[in-house]
């Protein structure tokens, strides 16, 4: 059964609704605070770590097929690999050296002078190197 609200109830409701709107506005402040300020916007990290780094090697690789991948160990190894695949698509980049061509990706280290089972074909600088595996089919 419904009943008409009293003056006290009305006042209470107004107050609660105003508080609710205030709570929403508090979170709006957080949205502003978390947004990167225009002066803090930096160059796009993904493009720097993928498309730009692999632009040169992409030119000499076939347009499609599967190539291998070798990279650094450590925390950044997985995103490095994902970013390589992103840059080289529609080539499929398999995280294995059992392919005729293998892309080496060493963004923070010196490119190793020799990698077991692999022969350096071309060094594109910036930690990107094209290798070949003569034993792969």
């Amino acid at each position: 059964m419904d009943q008409i609200a009293t003056g006290g109830t009305r006042r209470k409701r107004k107050l609660i609704l105003a508080i609710f709107i205030g709570c929403c506005l508090l979170s709006v402040i957080r949205i502003v605070r978390d947004a990167p300020g225009p002066s803090r916007i930096q160059l796009d990290d993904v493009a720097k770590r993928s498309d730009q780094r692999f632009a040169a090697v992409k030119l000499v690789l076939p347009g499609r097929g599967i190539i291998g991948y070798v990279g650094e160990n450590g925390e950044s190894s997985l995103p490095d690999y994902y970013l390589t695949q992103y840059a080289l698509a529609p080539l499929v980049v398999d995280r294995s050296i059992q392919h005729k061509f293998v892309v080496g990706n060493f963004p923070s280290l010196q490119v190793p002078s020799s990698l077991p089972g692999l022969r350096k074909v071309e060094d594109f600088g910036n930690g990107v190197v094209l290798l070949s595996n003569e034993d792969a089919r």
Binding site: R10, I21, L25, V28, I41, V46, Y86
Partner: protein, 466 residues
């Protein structure tokens, strides 16, 4: 130039899908309601046309688009015109908030829109390839395979790339690749624009659908609540598929609700279609689709007067809306996408189902995320909403009660389905919960807001329901 043509074709496709359900609906709110649907259904149609064109070896997507437009136009002309649909706000939807409170609400509405627009813009500029791994490791990568792979587009489904989840449905990648084809370039601006478009459409559609049910004040309040959810804004520029999924969840729930309460089978067909597009966006959408059918069936069985021919026809209408996309998804899963990892090991699934500590872990995470998934500052709005519920009246008319029950069952079953998926997940449980539960809650959040603000009345004519 070609980009403009593509955008026009996308909206026209959406309009042709939505138009049969909108004939006769007039007014600004109805226009906003159907425009949001036309835009997002158009994006969905764009991905469907692209995938079909690729599968049928149609090289020029413009031809495929023209064929789709011609087909839908012909169907529209052949179908007989039906009686007009009334989408005027309900009579109970007029608001009479006191002037100072209304001014505060309008100011909060304006501030939240401006802040959301600003935050989305700077986030999009700062992260043109998306904010987070999933953007470049899943969604935009799939789009690149579809676009750059040309006739070898199937390479993206390679089993050598299980981490990129090649089994995920292709609504977002397909639409991005379709637009890239017109541009002849994989410009990052396209996924950015789609992400922002879906975010804006979700907020606008929430406004329109609450306004139809409860008037402008409730609609403003609901929209302020959504736009002051920091995680919603963050995800809006992230280029993940969770905001598109949130839109289709909301569209399903709102259309189900309006369809049942106004007895419109045309809206229920659109509800089925929206659930189909949700399933075409992410695997989680399949759960929504299933829940929508079961939820409507359950609410019919529990309601009096219950299953009659009229109600069965309504249920059939929503199933009919979902059917074309369900067929498409079955084709996609059967012939294109590799099998997913979720149901790969039935023995392990059974073992996990009988491990009760897993239920407790998932329950704890549900509790934690309920309070924090939105990233709110100081006061979680999931705590503030129940306070409003108990303070303000929330009566429903008979036809709205049935509609509400169907919507709540749908959403409730979906959330329970997520729970079961976590219990049987083949992934490490904590890892899976940590990296996905907040986004699942976010996908349901606009729908929850619609249901909440459709129930609660902010009129100060002030009846208190006991």
């Amino acid at each position: 130039m070609w980009l403009i043509v593509a955008v026009i074709l996308c909206v026209v496709l959406g309009y042709l899908v939505v138009e049969p359900a909108s004939s006769g609906a007039r007014g600004g709110i109805a226009a906003l309601f159907y425009s949001c649907l036309a835009l997002c259904f158009g994006i969905g149609m764009f991905s469907v046309v692209f995938l079909l064109a690729r599968a049928l070896n149609i090289v020029h997507v413009f031809k495929a688009d023209l064929m789709a437009v011609t087909l839908l136009t012909t169907l529209r002309l052949v179908a007989r015109r039906r009686r007009k649909l009334n989408l005027d706000p309900d009579q109970t939807s007029n608001s009479d908030l006191p002037k100072p409170l209304r001014l505060l609400l309008i100011a909060a509405f304006a501030i939240s829109i401006c802040v959301a627009a600003y935050a989305l813009a700077v986030r999009a500029i700062a992260h043109p390839h998306g904010d987070g791994w999933d953007a470049f490791a899943i969604w935009n990568l799939h789009a690149r395979f579809l676009f750059l792979g040309e006739m070898h587009w199937r390479d993206g489904f390679s089993s050598l790339l299980p981490w990129s989840h090649p089994d995920y449905p292709p609504l977002l990648p397909g639409a991005i690749a379709h637009l890239w084809t017109y541009l002849d370039s994989d410009a990052p601006a396209v996924p950015v624009a789609l992400g922002l478009g879906f975010t804006a459409a979700t907020a606008a559609f929430l406004y329109a659908s609450i306004a139809i049910r409860r008037g402008h004040d409730s609609a403003m309040l609901g929209t302020v609540t959504l736009l002051s959810t920091p995680f919603f804004i963050e995800q809006g520029a992230a280029q993940y598929a969770d905001i598109p999924l949130a839109f289709f969840f909301l569209a399903t729930i709102a259309l189900l609700n309006l369809g049942w309460s106004r007895g419109s089978r045309r809206l229920l067909v659109l509800a089925g279609l929206a659930a189909g597009f949700a399933a075409w966006t992410k695997n989680e959408g399949l759960l929504l689709l299933l829940s929508a059918i079961i939820g409507q069936g359950l609410s019919l069985l529990l309601e009096k007067p219950s299953v009659g021919p009229r109600n069965l026809r309504r249920l059939a209408a929503s199933c009919a809306g979902a059917a074309p996309l369900l067929v498409l998804i079955a084709w996609y899963k059967q012939f294109l996408a590799p099998p997913g990892d979720l149901f790969a090991s039935p023995t392990s699934m059974v073992a996990k189902l009988t491990t009760f500590s897993r239920y407790w872990i998932v329950l704890q995470w549900y509790g934690k995320e309920f309070l924090r998934f939105g990233g709110w500052w100081i006061v979680p709005l999931t705590v503030a909403l129940p306070v409003l519920y108990f303070v303000f009246p929330h009566g429903q008319s008979e036809e709205h009660r049935m509609a509400l029950r169907a919507s709540i069952w749908t959403l409730g079953l979906t959330v329970m389905g997520y729970f079961a998926i976590y219990v049987i997940t083949p992934n490490e449980l904590y890892w899976h919960l940590r990296f996905s539960l907040n986004r699942l809650f976010l996908a349901a959040w606009p729908s929850v807001l619609f249901l909440f603000f459709s129930c609660v009345s902010f009129r100060s004519a002030d009846k208190v329901s006991n």
